[in-house]
């Protein structure tokens, strides 16, 4: 016990106190983030977790799509057919689907923001026409 006390000096106590404070801060932050998601209706009041994943595990929110995502990944999370985005958006890139939206935007001669919007629209159309 004495040996333990000798090693458990001021600096470690201060660091541990800060870690405890940090943990409390984290809990408060997570609580408010959770409330924000509830407010944005991303989380239902009675569902234990995100109900938007309830559509056979497919998220219904197309706004999750970002320009850094690859077509392979987007196709995986929205359960799209392999060449759906390539044919719908007339993509010219030879690396499809293992290429990011932003990288293929350069090949398409458009901005990554515009192509991301097109991808979102294509996914939305697919989800509407293929309800599960």
């Amino acid at each position: 016990m004495k040996h333990f006390q000798e090693h458990f000096d001021w600096a470690v106590r201060i660091v541990l106190s800060l870690l405890v404070l940090l943990f409390l801060g984290l809990c408060v932050t997570l609580f408010f983030q959770y409330q924000r998601l509830r407010h944005d209706q991303m989380i239902g009041p009675h569902a234990p977790w995100f109900p938007s994943q309830g559509r056979g595990g497919v998220p219904s929110d197309v706004n999750l799509v970002q320009s850094w995502m690859t077509y392979d990944y987007v196709g995986h999370i929205y359960h799209l057919p392999q060449d759906y985005l390539k044919t719908t958006l007339s993509l010219k890139t030879t690396y499809y689907p293992r290429v990011s939206i932003s990288a293929s935007a350069a090949v398409q001669g458009t901005s990554s923001a515009a192509l991301t919007t097109d991808v979102k629209k294509a996914i939305q159309d697919y989800l509407v026409s293929n309800p599960q």
């Binding site: 000096d9 600096a11 106590r13 800060l18 997570l30 991303m42 995100f50 850094w68 690859t70 995986h76």
Partner: protein, 220 residues
């Protein structure tokens, strides 16, 4: 999201575990890369079935531990030479090294949660002569706990990990600041000649105060 983070996230989707290994190896060698964001994202990708949770943990752990080990061994081999080359004040370094040598276990484990503090502790452990066995054991323990926590957080947030990625970065910086402040306090206390082992708060201070109080009481 920064350009580097976006590029690395694209890379993560393309090269998966190889990229995680590389990024965490380089992060352990003090390269400023957004490791926590990637780890958080990898956890979310695992929950979506795009990556495997245990492969993510294994690749990140391997990269981080090997990077830490490289930092430790390089510091043990070339540390003194670099200190002389850059004329770093030896007294400050001795103070920190002394602390790391005296308390290697909590220092190594806590620094694994401090992001940017991790490489500094590896170097100090190498230069301070912390035994390799102790360094490696506590490095692995600390890394398993800290990495597992972040991956699990990403895993449970799933599709909505992006809403929380800013929080994770902030936590990383707060942890870094907390540990850095702790380190500065240690240096300050050593520099002004206060030995930490002689100040086992609160009992030692309380006893000293009580003795002084009794002496004054007897005098009256």
């Amino acid at each position: 999201m920064s350009t580097i983070a976006a590029a690395l996230l694209s890379g993560l989707l393309l090269y998966k575990y190889f990229l995680l290994f590389g990024v965490f190896f380089l992060s352990a060698l003090a390269l400023p890369l957004p490791g926590n964001t990637l780890l958080f994202a990898a956890g979310a990708f695992a929950s979506q079935g795009y990556m495997n949770f245990w492969y993510v943990l294994a690749s990140v752990l391997a990269g981080n531990v090997l990077g830490d080990l490289a930092g430790y061994l390089l510091a043990a081999r070339y540390g003194e030479r670099i200190v002389r080359m850059f004329r770093i004040k030896r007294s400050y370094l001795d103070t920190i090294e002394g602390y790391v040598r005296k308390h290697p276990r909590p220092t190594i484990i806590l620094s694994r949660f401090g992001g940017s503090l991790d490489p500094a502790v590896n170097v100090l452990s190498g230069m301070g002569g912390v035994p390799l066995r102790i360094f490696l054991t506590y490095d692995i323990v600390g890394n398993v706990i800290s990495l597992f926590l972040v991956i699990t957080a990403g895993y449970y947030l799933g599709d909505y990990w992006q809403s929380f990625s800013g929080v994770i970065s902030t936590i990383g910086w707060i942890l870094f600041a907390a540990l850095a402040i702790g380190g500065i306090i240690v240096i300050y206390r050593r520099q002004v000649g206060i030995k930490s082992t002689s100040t086992t708060f609160p009992m030692h201070q309380v006893r000293k105060f009580w003795r002084t109080f009794k002496q004054y009481g007897q005098r009256d």
